[in-house]
Every structure is written in structure tokens, then in C-alpha cells.
């Protein structure tokens, strides 16, 4: 395949990934790596490098276009960043020693988990105002804007959230994903932050986590400009486009479509992992 055909095909796929990611709120990173490795037979290390770059682009750029301000809890974000950054550096340090087949199996499991999470209804849980020892010490409790004015919320189970973030950081570096699903799970379910606060704070964190390992991978030669440029520009364009049509699109149908794509990729990844074909 010539470089031109290759770049055009990858750009097309990346636009689709970025758009689906923005419309479903699940992020495009999770399908970029399977697309590159399974469809285009790109080595997993190159795919991880290119994917991380696109994750940073959507997190810092496009997402800000539809993220409403006033929701992000900066203290929670930066405190948990200690865990995700350490996790990402640990992940980057060990990634060279883990066989590709094991990474493929891990990826398959994360994809399956994503599919399950995307089918669960997103209900706004009750807000707790019971004080928590850790939240108090680190001054994490805050308020966020609602239709009835500013609403106070209390942050729970900080150590559990912190540990999950460490795992999210490792997975981000090993698999080239934003780990948004795990970040939201930790903040929304474990730490009991309001859903909107969880998603916007997660977005704030995703770029930082991805930058930690991407910096290391650049020096290690995982980031290829010819492969990364159509991925980055495609995913960014797709995410911007997705954010623009978000109000008009049938997100329920798209979510189901996305879930089917994710399950197919999970099956393929697990198969390749167990047969050693990746």
C-alpha cells in the first residue's frame, strides 16, 4: 500500500472513531488501537503511540467545546492525577516486557468491560453530604451548578478512588487508551461525585495521563509521524464533528452500534491474543 492510500484510509477510520467516541461519550481511543492493529496490521507499539496522541488531542481540545464550565473539580482531578501519572509511568516502564499476546487479551477484557458499562443506564445517584475523613483532610467537597442553583456534594471513599486511578493509569499506558470508563466509574460510583462532575473531571485528567506515557514513548520510538498524523487529525476532526451534531443525533442507536463494534473487536482481540496472531 502506498503512503497516500494508507494515510487516507486511516484518516477515514479515525474520523469515524472520533465521532462515535464523542457521540457516545465513551471516547474514541478504545477503538483506535483495535482498528489499527486488526484492520491495518499495525504493530501494537506503533498503534499505542498514535492512539495516545489522539487521546490527548480530544481531551484537551475538542472536548472543551462541549464541556460546560463550572463542573470540573480541580482538587479531585489533580490529587487523583498523582495516581494516574505514577500508574502511567509504571505502565510505560513495564510495557516493553509484556508479550503482545498478553496485551491483546488484556485489551479484549477492557473492551468487554466497556461494552457492559455502555449498556448500563446512567442514572444520577443521590448526593451524599456525610463528611468523609479523607475528603475533609484534602478539602475535596465542592458545589456544582444545577437547575435549582448551586448544589453541595461530599466526596467519599478517596483511597478506593485513588487506587482505581492507579490502575487506570497503567491501562492507559499499556493499551493507549484514555481509561475514561474507569475514571468515571471511580469518581461516579466509588467517590460519589455527581455524574457531570465525574465526566468533566475525567476529561481534565485523561490528557494528563496520556501525556505521561506518550512522553516516554516518543523517546522510545513508538510515535511515528506518518502513522500518527492521520490518526490525530482524523480523531480530532471526528470529535469536533460529533460534538456539533450531538444534540440532533440518535445517541441511543449510536450507543448500541458502538457496543456491537466494541464486542466484535473484543472477540477478535481475545482470539488473536490466545492464538498469538497479533
Amino acid at each position: 500500500m502506498t503512503t497516500l492510500t494508507f494515510a487516507l484510509l486511516i484518516a477515514g477510520g479515525s474520523v469515524t472513531a472520533g465521532m462515535l467516541g464523542a457521540l457516545t461519550g465513551l471516547g474514541g481511543g478504545i477503538i483506535v488501537v483495535p482498528m489499527l492493529t486488526l484492520l491495518f496490521h499495525v504493530d501494537l507499539r506503533y498503534a499505542v503511540g498514535a492512539s495516545l496522541v489522539s487521546v490527548i488531542a480530544t481531551s484537551s481540545g475538542a472536548a472543551a467545546a462541549y464541556v460546560r464550565e463550572g463542573y470540573t473539580n480541580v482538587r479531585v482531578g489533580i490529587l487523583l492525577e498523582v495516581a494516574t501519572t505514577v500508574g502511567a509511568l509504571v505502565g510505560a516502564a513495564v510495557s516493553g516486557f509484556i508479550p503482545t499476546s498478553a496485551l491483546a487479551i488484556l485489551f479484549g477484557c477492557v473492551l468487554l468491560f466497556t461494552a457492559i458499562r455502555s449498556l448500563q443506564p446512567r442514572a444520577e445517584h443521590e448526593l451524599l453530604t456525610t463528611p468523609d475523613k479523607w475528603a475533609k483532610r484534602w478539602r475535596l467537597d465542592s458545589t456544582y451548578p444545577t437547575a435549582d442553583g448551586l448544589q453541595h456534594y461530599s466526596v467519599q471513599r478517596v483511597p478506593v478512588g485513588f487506587s482505581l486511578m492507579f490502575v487506570a493509569g497503567i491501562l492507559s499506558a499499556l493499551l493507549g487508551i484514555g481509561s475514561g470508563i474507569i475514571k468515571v466509574l471511580a469518581m461516579d460510583q466509588m467517590m460519589r461525585l455527581p455524574f457531570k462532575v465525574s465526566t468533566t473531571t475525567s476529561n481534565f485528567m485523561i490528557g494528563v495521563t496520556a501525556a505521561a506515557s506518550a512522553g516516554v514513548y516518543l523517546h522510545r520510538g513508538y510515535i511515528d509521524p506518518v502513522l500518527s498524523f492521520p490518526v490525530m487529525l482524523g480523531v480530532l476532526a471526528g470529535a469536533l464533528l460529533g460534538a456539533r451534531i450531538l444534540g440532533r443525533a440518535n445517541t441511543k442507536l449510536l450507543r448500541q452500534l458502538f457496543t456491537v463494534v466494541v464486542v466484535v473487536m473484543a472477540a477478535e482481540m481475545l482470539y488473536k491474543g490466545f492464538t498469538g496472531g497479533l
Binding site: 503512503t3 497516500l4 488531542a57 505514577v86 509511568l89 494528563v208 516516554v216 520510538g221 511515528d224 490525530m232
Partner: protein, 117 residues
């Protein structure tokens, strides 16, 4: 403050995307017709792996180095955000979070500048 930071970083991403776009167009113009494959990992050549040589290559208008510079700018964007957040906490004289943010910043710079993990 957060809104200003958010705006600045959007500009950073757009700038990075612009550099990548120009570099990518140059790559296609110069190497568009050659065959390519990424099935076997070889690692990038040395000049695309260190910040100094990427910058030098980009100024010499090497298409690969120019694109890599755009990617480098993009990776730096969240790090700059953390640096701004550190400044915001310092202005609020929030000593605890100045320390927390400094830890995150040092970890990020360590990976970004030295490439070790």
C-alpha cells in the same frame, strides 16, 4: 481562571494540529507514492526521538521532523495545563495543592524530557 486556561489549551491543540497538518501534507507530497507497512516494529530513527533533534529537523523543514514537532507540542499541552494549575494554586496560597500539583508536574516533565519511566 479555569476558563482562561481551558481557552489557552484549546489554542495549543489547534496550533499543534496546524503544525501536524502542514507536516503531514509535506510528507504526502514527498513520500506519498512510496510503499509503507507498520507490521514489524523497528522503532523510530534517532532524530525523531529527542526533543533537540526534532526541533532542529523541523526548522530545516524536514517533513517527518515537522510533523513530530506538532505531536510534541500536543503532548506538551496537558503538561502546560498542569503548570497553569500550579500557578493558580500558588496565587490562592493553597500550600497543600501547590505540593500535590508540583509532584504531578515533576513526574510529567521527567517522562517528557528524559523519556524514562
Amino acid at each position: 481562571m479555569e476558563q482562561v486556561i481551558g481557552r489557552l489549551l484549546q489554542i495549543g491543540v489547534l496550533l499543534a494540529a496546524l503544525v501536524v497538518l502542514v507536516g503531514g501534507a509535506l510528507i504526502l507530497a514527498q513520500h506519498g507514492g512510496t510503499a509503507t507497512s507498520y507490521a514489524v516494529f523497528q522503532g523510530e530513527p534517532e532524530f525523531l526521538r529527542s526533543i533537540g533533534s526534532i526541533v532542529r529537523g523541523a526548522f530545516a523543514l524536514n517533513s517527518l521532523a515537522l510533523t513530530q514537532l506538532g505531536l510534541l507540542l500536543l503532548i506538551a499541552t496537558p503538561i502546560v495545563r498542569v503548570a497553569f494549575t500550579l500557578g493558580a494554586f500558588a496565587l490562592q496560597r493553597d500550600r497543600t495543592y501547590v505540593v500535590v500539583t508540583t509532584i504531578v508536574l515533576v513526574l510529567l516533565l521527567y517522562g517528557f524530557l528524559y523519556g524514562k519511566a
